[in-house]
């Protein structure tokens, strides 16, 4: 642990840009290989794969998934898994939709949407730190609370904008910049910021220390409790950002949006090299895994796969990734 703090402070900053461990490198290489296999498979089996229409669909998928996974990476590395993100996403999306379609100005709707995500994360953090509830259970409770709130806010029905009210708010993240969907550019910026914070700032590096050994981190005067709250707030805030993207995508989102989304997000982060015990994982891994899973889900949709695959494939992937993780770490005993 002290070794870790030393490397973070004594080496030049650019050294942190390169994965330090051989395991990280091999995980990234595996992911790139899987991506190539997927690309070849879908090129052969799904003729619409290389079309502009599919590219923008894929971009939306990857954008939302990437933003949620960015926040979740912070949580999981520090040892607190946040499974309330799907509900938080739906709640903040519903808040944005409700406000925007009621004719509120864009800045007001969007900032409230983000504040909702932030608050959910704050409550998660306080429950974990002050009430000492296991993070998975605490966020499981929040999964129900936020989902219930989302239904109440959106009134369970899909809020389609029949008029143009609110469309100016949604348009901010629609369309392209230089031929690239704005949502994807936005997600790339979020992931980049996440990368910088996680790997180049002290608060980010401490996530690894806390995840590896919270007691040791406490004894070297890292304020573990405060940082744990911060990481869960980051997770909630990112879910809020993703809610903004989700609501913008189709001019509004309903309370039942993103059901089961926590599964996909956990799968991505675990595939990206983060273990459940904490202390492992990286933003590069998360980014690569986002693309791998995004392409997989998108390709499956193109091939006309049902909701069966939409749930079963991430589930099987998650089990496989966790199995590999427990091979590495010894696993649950």
């Amino acid at each position: 642990m002290s070794d870790l703090v030393a490397t973070a402070t004594e080496l030049p900053w650019w050294r942190n840009l390169i994965p330090r461990k051989a395991a990280d490198l091999s995980a990234s290489a595996t992911m790139v290989c899987v991506l190539l296999i997927e690309a070849i498979f879908f090129t052969v089996r799904a003729p619409d794969f290389w079309t502009g229409g599919n590219f923008s669909a894929l971009a939306q998928l990857v954008a939302i998934l990437g933003i949620v996974a960015t926040g979740m990476t912070f949580g999981l590395i520090s040892g607190s898994l946040d499974i309330s993100v799907g509900s938080t996403l739906a709640l903040s999306g519903a808040v944005l939709t409700r406000l925007a379609t009621a004719g509120k100005p864009a800045w007001e709707s969007i900032s409230l949407c983000l504040i909702v995500g932030l608050l959910v994360g704050l409550v998660n953090g306080l429950v974990v730190v002050k009430l000492r509830v296991n993070p998975i259970v605490a966020t499981l409770g929040m999964l129900g609370i936020a989902r219930g709130l989302a239904y109440i806010v959106s009134g369970t029905t899909y809020v389609a904008t029949t008029s143009d009210v609110g469309s100016s708010t949604f348009q901010i993240l629609q369309g392209n910049i230089l031929g690239i969907p704005r949502a994807l550019v936005f997600a790339a910026i979020v992931m980049m910021v996440g990368y910088i914070v996680l790997h180049l700032t002290r608060a980010g590096r401490y996530a690894y220390a806390i995840g590896q050994d919270a007691q040791a981190a406490r004894s070297v005067a890292i304020s573990v409790d405060r940082l744990r709250i911060v990481y869960l707030v980051v997770s909630g805030f990112c879910a809020g950002l993703a809610g903004w993207v989700l609501a913008s995508e189709a001019d509004g989102s309903a309370g039942n949006a993103a059901l089961g989304y926590e599964l996909t997000a956990v799968t991505v982060v675990v595939l990206g090299g983060a273990g459940l015990a904490g202390g492992t994982g990286s933003m590069i891994g998360t980014a690569l895994a986002t693309v791998v899973l995004g392409v997989l889900v998108d390709g499956m949709n193109l091939m006309g796969a049902s909701i069966f695959y939409e749930f079963v494939i991430p589930g099987v992937f998650l089990i496989a990734a966790m199995g590999l993780d427990s091979l590495r770490t010894g696993g649950y005993r």
Binding site: R132, V133, V137, G144, Y151, I307, F311, I319, M322, G331
Partner: protein, 365 residues
């Protein structure tokens, strides 16, 4: 020893403060009688208040006290507010709809006492009901269809056990992943469409035997069976031992892995029974996604004082928890509030139950 956290250090500082105050009063010339000390305490209202507050919180942390208080408060509230709440038909209705939940809660309790957890219990039970229902619609004899539903539950439990023992995946994550896999399979079984079963043998749970709905008898049987298993058999003792400390159990030459697989499979039996009973009670076959049955079951069992860390808890506690959740849902529906409020309340209660359970033993650090 644990490193004191910020809250803990504040607590120990105030204790130190109290001690130094006592020391000063002893050293001071003249008599420092107990009455004077009490007067001194009274002059410091903050301190006395704090002591009372601490005692009250300590009382609340005793297992089952918060649940009992909340139960009484809820019953009083609903009885006053709803004229129909405390009538015989309504109470029977609460029992009837709690029956299936209780059977699932029995499986959940057994697994939790054994140190595991099974979040896939809701999805597994829905799948068991779907399998039984779809087979019945396709002309399979009802008895065989029920057996197939039961086996579906058993199989899902066994898979959970294998994931936890053979692949060494943390049970929270393994069963969370299984939750989605089973939901996906549920869609596959029904083709994604809702359906109704009209076979009267299949719908046996809608009958009344001697004026009491059939599910109550079955739940009663499960209660006796589960209680006997946990309290009077050697296996029950072993399950408590396993949950209390798996490493200690390993030390005394327990085959922990085999017990765990057995534990999850046993949970699967209850999942199957509960699922088939629910399908029989409603006759409605609908694949579901989203937080649902496992949420109510986990909340009820944790409220009933079964510990998240294993080795502690009782089936009677779980029963009280299930009745609490059942009565709450019943009262809320009659109050015509937004049905999603139930989900939110369950989420809050889930967190509260775990916090009460964990705070008394240190909790997550």
């Amino acid at each position: 020893m644990r490193q004191p956290d910020r809250g803990g250090s504040r607590c120990s500082r105030s204790t130190l403060h109290d001690m130094s105050l006592g020391k000063v009063s002893q050293l001071s010339p003249g008599s420092a009688t107990a009455a004077e000390a009490d007067a001194a305490a009274l002059t410091e209202p903050g301190k006395a208040q704090r002591a009372i507050w601490r005692k009250a919180v300590g009382l609340l942390l005793i297992p089952n006290v918060p649940l009992a208080l909340a139960f009484i408060a809820m019953l009083v509230y609903f009885t006053v507010k709803l004229p129909y709440f405390l009538t015989k038909p309504n109470l029977i209705s609460i029992l009837q709809f709690s029956s299936a939940t209780f059977i699932l809660a029995t499986g959940f309790t057994v697994i939790m006492i054994g140190g595991g957890i099974d979040l896939s219990i809701g999805a597994g039970s829905v799948l068991a009901g779907l399998v039984a229902g779809v087979l019945t619609i396709n002309g399979v004899p009802v008895a065989l269809a029920f057996l197939a539903g039961l086996l579906t539950g058993v199989a899902s439990g066994a898979v959970n056990g294998l994931l936890v023992t053979k692949m060494r995946i943390n049970p929270l994550i393994a069963t969370l992943a299984m939750l989605y896999v089973l939901e996906g399979i549920g869609y596959r079984v029904t083709g994604g469409l809702d359906d109704e079963v009209y076979n009267s043998t299949f719908l046996f749970a809608q009958q009344r035997w001697f004026g009491v709905p059939a599910p109550i008898y079955i739940a009663g049987g499960i209660l006796i069976l589960g209680w006997t298993l946990l309290r009077t058999t050697k296996l029950g003792v072993h399950i408590y031992a396993l949950g209390g400390s798996s490493s200690a159990a390993r030390q005394v030459a327990f085959n922990v892995e085999r017990y765990r697989i057995g534990l999850y499979t046993l949970g699967g039996v209850f999942t199957g029974i509960g699922g088939v009973l629910t399908a029989s009670l409603t006759g409605n076959l609908a694949p579901t996604v989203g937080p649902g049955i496992e949420f109510a079951v986990a909340t009820a069992v944790l409220l009933g004082g079964v510990s998240l860390t294993g080795g502690r808890g009782s089936l009677i506690g779980a029963l009280v928890g299930v009745l609490f959740i059942g009565a709450l849902a019943n009262g809320l529906v009659q109050s015509a509030v937004n049905p999603e409020l139930t989900l939110m309340l369950e989420g809050i209660l889930l967190i509260a139950a775990v916090a009460i359970d964990q705070l008394s033993q240190g909790g997550f650090r």
